[in-house]
């Protein structure tokens, strides 16, 4: 109540200076750029904290684990690391019975399926960008894999032992009356026209379900890119007499080329997180056995190889990427 007369006096004045404590006064006196910097840091502070605590420290820690033997001491609630050089890697690559096999298999699968995913998703995005009846239905079906391939779903689909057994049973019994692709393959082999590329195409066609299932997100990304291309470009090229084929290679492809890079990286990273990735299954099983040194060595070996692949392919592609703007 004692403040009342004060406010009454102030009411007549044009503006009342706000009371500020020391910190906010200091902030008030800064220039615009510095204020901006402080605000920016405040906005990204959750990320900085999280990155330092849950990413940077664990990365350092796991790098240390790679080069040491970790022994758990659960009674005293601590663990010890003894530096042992590269012996974890020696074990992983030379002694472990299945790691090499799993690694090469997984890398080959990745190298085979990533180009297929890119081509497929680009193709589908081109189609569903056109106007036709029932487009929204088709779109929602094609994006359904974003759900269907998420997390455990993929593993459920492929790890189903019974389904696998049934499938192999069916294949054994139907050896003569085979699928269209197999018949085609036989014709091509007998015709002597079976080269590496055709073999690859047939392999891709056989695995089309897996590819469709894993390319939901990539389709969305490509579609977003296609929609940013302005229609006036196509109009101009049409007036100049370009065919659809030409305008595809001269307009669509260059405009979308940066997204090919994005999708390439996304597809490769997505491969890590797939629940049917056998290398990662191996890593988690090592963690369950409390072999922390080994598990980190495996994970890092895989990660580094994949990063090298990403680097090389991104280097090749990014030279050809056309940036509009």
């Amino acid at each position: 109540m004692s403040e009342n007369p004060q406010t009454q006096i102030n009411a007549g004045q044009p503006k009342k200076e706000k009371k500020r404590n020391f910190l906010s006064q200091k902030y008030h006196n800064l220039d615009f750029q510095k204020k901006n910097a402080i605000a920016g840091y405040l906005f990204i502070s959750p990320f900085i904290i999280g990155f330092l605590v849950f990413m940077f420290l664990p990365i350092l820690e796991s790098l240390r684990m790679v080069f040491s033997e970790v022994t758990m001491d659960l009674e005293n609630n601590r663990y010890d690391m003894v530096f042992n050089g590269l012996s974890n890697f020696y074990y992983v690559f030379q002694t472990d019975p299945e790691f090499n096999r799993l690694l090469t298999e997984e890398l080959f699968r990745m190298l085979l399926s990533v180009p297929a995913i890119l081509v497929f998703s680009f193709f589908v995005a081109m189609i569903i960008n056109q106007k036709f009846k029932g487009r929204s239905f088709v779109r929602s079906v094609f994006f359904l894999p974003v759900i269907l391939s998420a997390g455990v779903m993929l593993g459920l689909e492929t790890n189903n032992m019974l389904l696998g057994e049934m499938r192999s049973y069916v294949q054994q019994n139907n050896a003569m009356t085979n699928t269209i692709t197999n018949v085609l393959e036989e014709i091509l082999i007998s015709g002597g026209a079976m080269d590496e590329f055709l073999y690859y195409v047939i392999q891709v066609v056989n695995e089309i379900y897996g590819i469709a299932l894993t390319s939901g997100m990539q389709i969305i990304i490509f579609l977003s890119g296609l929609q940013t291309i302005s229609p006036s470009m196509y109009e101009a090229s049409k007036i100049e007499g370009a065919t659809a084929w030409e305008s595809f290679w001269k307009i669509t492809f260059p405009m979308i080329s940066s997204l090919i890079l994005v999708n390439l990286i996304y597809s490769i990273i997505d491969y890590f997180l797939r629940s049917d990735n056998t290398v990662m299954e191996k890593v988690t099983s090592e963690i369950a056995k409390m072999d922390y040194g080994l598990s980190s060595a495996m994970a890092w070996a895989y990660f580094i190889i994949v990063i090298i692949i990403v680097g090389i392919s991104a280097g090749i592609i990014s030279r050809r990427v056309y940036y509009y703007e």
Binding site: G40, F143, G225, I287
Partner: protein, 360 residues
């Protein structure tokens, strides 16, 4: 254009747009005939080009429709297959006349899966966890994305490289050290001082909630990237006007920028919700004791075997067909809420990302 229309324009060369429209809607105007004869006529006039083009178009449409039908069927078929498996009685599996529509409808599979999964309580827990995690992740990622898009501060490029790194580094590489980190959780030895030993936070949702609140959950780098991309596309004048009018930074963010970003935030939320719902990685690490759906669904055939052996007899064994059915049913029950959610939000899910335009 048909001959008639051409003559009409020739006789009245100075026709304004309004007059043309009036002429078109009057009774005197006859629309050009679209029958085969006139088509051939026009084709002749164009030197064979028109027919070729039309045939090409028709073939294209047919090929496209076939392709789309095939691909849609390819994606939907396993789902439909599971649906028909789940409403079949077991005897129908061995009936060779039954392919996909069962002779005897049954809800036995659903009851069994419900029993084995403890469906409703597990659904409730999964829902709560996914909701909490998704809200935390999206809220923090929105802040961070906005910070990266709209403010200039020293080391911005460096921190953004860290975001890229967050996208690139698979969580499995840091899994083991994270596990130890949380098994013996301690901040500067405070807990050791108070309780006498570090906290064991494995099997408690707290660490995962902390990670979500600081953008370190599953694929959070991607959300930061997407949200930043969106905010970068919003014109700067909008904010400047707000600043000039005396709106503070936080208030500008909440009042001006957030309402426009509803679409991208919704889609990030949906991604986060779906990925959390189906996640096995962090779930198996931190949330094992919660018995969420994602972990119990993947082991449902084994649970069925155990159930038979405990309740029917030590040597009782469910037939492979039944296991298959129960697995299919469990999976359907697992994704049913997601599919409902997807159907409701499908529009926003897709369109908003398309609008934001992801670019390097």
């Amino acid at each position: 254009m048909s001959n008639k229309a051409v003559t009409a324009t020739e006789t009245t060369p100075v026709m304004t747009m309004d007059e043309k429209l009036a002429f078109m809607s009057s009774k005197k105007y006859k629309p050009p005939k679209r029958d085969f004869k006139s088509l051939m006529e026009r084709n002749r006039a164009s030197g064979g080009y028109l027919l070729k083009k039309n045939i090409g178009n028709v073939i294209f449409v047919i090929v496209r429709a076939t392709l789309l039908f095939g691909l849609c069927f390819l994606i939907l078929q396993p789902l439909l297959n599971k649906l028909s498996l789940s409403i079949m009685s077991e005897s129908d599996l061995f009936d060779s006349t039954v392919v996909s529509i069962p002779r005897e409808f049954t809800v036995f599979n659903y009851e069994m899966a419900d029993l084995l999964l403890g469906y409703w309580p597990a659904l409730f827990r999964t829902f709560i966890v996914s909701l909490a995690v998704a809200i935390l992740q999206v809220a923090s990622c929105t802040f961070v994305g906005y910070g990266f898009a709209r403010f200039n501060f020293p080391f911005k490029r460096f921190w953004f490289m860290c975001v890229i790194m967050l996208i690139l580094v698979p969580p499995q590489t840091i899994m083991s050290s994270l596990f130890l980190h949380f098994a013996l959780f301690d901040i500067f030895g405070i807990f050791t001082l108070i309780v006498g030993k570090p906290l064991n936070l494995i099997n408690s949702p707290v660490p995962y909630l902390m990670m979500s609140a600081t953008c370190m959950g599953l694929k959070n780098g991607l959300y930061i990237y997407m949200i930043r991309q969106y905010f970068r596309g919003v014109p700067k004048e909008l904010e400047e006007a707000a600043y000039v009018d005396g709106c503070g930074k936080l208030k500008t963010f909440f009042r001006i920028m957030l309402p426009d970003a509803r679409a991208i935030i919704t889609s990030c939320f949906l991604f986060s919700f779906v990925w959390q719902w189906t996640d096995s990685l962090f779930t198996s690490l931190f949330l094992r004791s919660m018995r969420l759906l994602s972990s119990s669904v993947s082991s449902i055939p084994q649970t069925l075997v155990n159930y038979y052996q405990n309740n029917i007899g030590r040597h009782a064994f469910p037939s492979p067909g039944l296991q298959q059915q129960i697995a299919a049913t469990g999976m359907l029950m697992f994704i049913a809420p997601l599919i409902i959610l997807y159907l409701i939000a499908q529009r926003g899910f897709v369109e908003s990302i398309s609008q934001s335009g992801i670019k390097m």
